[in-house]
């Protein structure tokens, strides 16, 4: 029963979506409701129900860590404090005070703009340093292939910055255009498309296996 019902639901949902793809929108309506976007919006509704699971999970994991004073428990405490500091003023009605709710000037708004957003930007900005260290490892000329990769990467990086492009043009004016044509739109694009076609076929095959009930590993079977 625990396996059969989800398989039937997966088959019916998948089959309905395929069918809706081939039927004109005028004929896939019940009253004024268009079925395709309607069915897709159900995912959001199911997601809303599971949100409580997420809240319970995050509170339990962090509470237990603080209670048992696990290594780094101070971060768990910071998480718990942050959750309540963001959630409580946001849930309370704006009519009680302009500091409540999620509008401009509220506590939630201030915390979001002055703490949350800068921290997200900081994390993203750190990517530059990580790229440098990863590139240093990847571009070491250990063998013929790695050397080829190093030369290609150096050419592309030069071509991407204005000063590099100027330098390359100085050697021969057609070099930047050739890098674009042969490396970026040639070898690079061809390989990317090959991976994409393979991935699309893999995704379609897996969807089909799920629909037909052949693939049940996502249920732990």
């Amino acid at each position: 029963m625990r396996t059969t019902v989800p398989v039937i639901i997966a088959f019916l949902s998948g089959f309905a979506m395929i069918l809706l793809f081939f039927i004109s929108p005028e004929h896939s309506k019940i009253g004024t409701v268009e079925l395709e976007p309607e069915v897709l919006s159900w995912v959001t509704i199911v997601g809303g129900f599971t949100l409580l699971l997420g809240v319970v999970s995050i509170l339990r994991v962090n509470y237990v860590a603080v209670q048992r004073k696990k290594e780094g428990w101070i971060y768990n405490l910071a998480t718990l404090v942050s959750i309540f500091a963001m959630a409580i003023p946001a849930i309370l009605p704006e009519s009680w005070s302009p500091l409540l709710g999620t509008g401009t000037g509220s506590i939630y708004d201030w915390l979001f703009n002055n703490l949350d957003a800068p921290m997200m930007s900081t994390m993203f900005a750190m990517l530059a340093f990580y790229i440098a260290s990863a590139a240093f490892r990847a571009f070491r000329a250990r063998n013929a292939e790695a050397t080829l990769l190093l030369i290609t990467a150096a050419l592309v990086m030069l071509w991407r910055v204005p000063m590099g492009e100027m330098l390359l043009s100085g050697i021969h004016e057609s070099i930047p255009e050739k890098i674009n044509t042969y490396i970026m739109n040639g070898a690079n694009l061809a390989v990317q498309r090959g991976i994409l076609i393979g991935a699309a076929l893999g995704a379609a095959a897996m969807s089909l296996r799920i629909m037909l009930g052949i693939e049940r590993t996502y249920m732990g079977k």
């Binding site: 004109s24 995912v43 599971t50 409580l52 780094g72 921290m119 990863a134 991935a199 095959a205």
Partner: protein
């Protein structure tokens, strides 16, 4: 005035219908052959062969295995592929009593992950070893999730990190942190833009279709392997169609051919 009647079937999408029918038929034929016991050859995928080895390393070191099923919602097929692989990994960690950590970004992935891991622990006969907090919800924000996982890596120093699913800008932040923490890393994604980062920072990387093949490869179930073979033959068909396209377009007689594959 009578309004013009709209046909029920969208005839401009007949090309897609033909491909869907051929694809389904090929997969079903191979699944049927597999059911009858026909031996099917599947090429070696090093990254997947190493999964058990990497979990064994974690067991020897007494350190946890970190598994991330991507950062997308459960309606993304890559996440489902990640969850499928999680089931196989959880079975091995349960067998060896190796701690497993699975931080997730969405509550629906949390529910699916908990179900799969619990089932794995039950199947190896260790339901008491299962802890609901193995799979834990961390944060809905992309970089808050990344910050948490990076911190977890530096504090817990997992012996093995497995990334399977849809990853975006955080891929290198995660993989480089894992590298600094000294973990063995196996990644798999179908996002071409993230593959170079994983290749640079991880020990093994599954590219595109290999991610979707992982559950079949790890389980070695004939029915699933049959589906993989069918997919391979579809790839052969697409290669032939692409080569034909190149020939027709090169000789400037390819307009009719290209129009057959027009997506509407």
């Amino acid at each position: 005035m009578q309004p013009e009647s709209v046909p029920v079937f969208r005839s401009e999408r007949i090309n897609a219908l033909i491909i869907v029918l051929i694809f389904s038929a090929v997969i079903l034929i191979y699944t049927r052959w597999a059911r009858k016991g026909k031996k099917l050859f599947i090429r070696k995928i090093n990254g997947l062969d190493e999964v058990e080895e990497a979990v064994g390393r974690a067991t020897e070191m007494g350190k946890p295995v970190l598994f991330i099923p991507g950062i997308s919602e459960i309606d993304e097929i890559e996440t489902i592929a990640g969850i499928s692989i999680l089931g196989r990994v959880a079975r091995v960690t349960a067998q060896y009593d190796t701690p497993l950590l699975v931080p997730v970004r969405y509550p629906m992935v949390l529910a699916a992950g908990q179900e799969v891991v619990e089932q794995a622990y039950m199947e190896v006969g260790k339901p008491d070893a299962y802890n609901k907090d193995i799979v834990r919800y961390v944060a809905g924000e992309q970089f808050a999730f990344t910050a948490h996982v990076n911190g977890l890596m530096m504090r817990e120093r997992p012996a093995t990190n497995i990334y399977m699913g849809a990853f975006y800008a955080e891929s290198l932040l995660l993989a480089e942190s894992g590298n600094i923490a000294g973990s063995i890393q196996i990644a798999g994604t179908a996002q071409p833009a993230q593959l170079p980062f994983f290749i640079a920072a991880c020990d093994y990387t599954l590219m595109g279709e290999e991610l979707y093949a992982a559950s079949a490869y790890l389980s070695r179930e004939p029915l699933l392997l049959g589906g993989l073979k069918g997919q391979d033959w579809m790839k052969v068909l697409f290669v032939i169609l692409i080569v034909l396209g190149i020939v027709f377009v090169s000789f400037d007689i390819g307009d009719w051919y290209l129009s057959m594959f027009k997506a509407v």
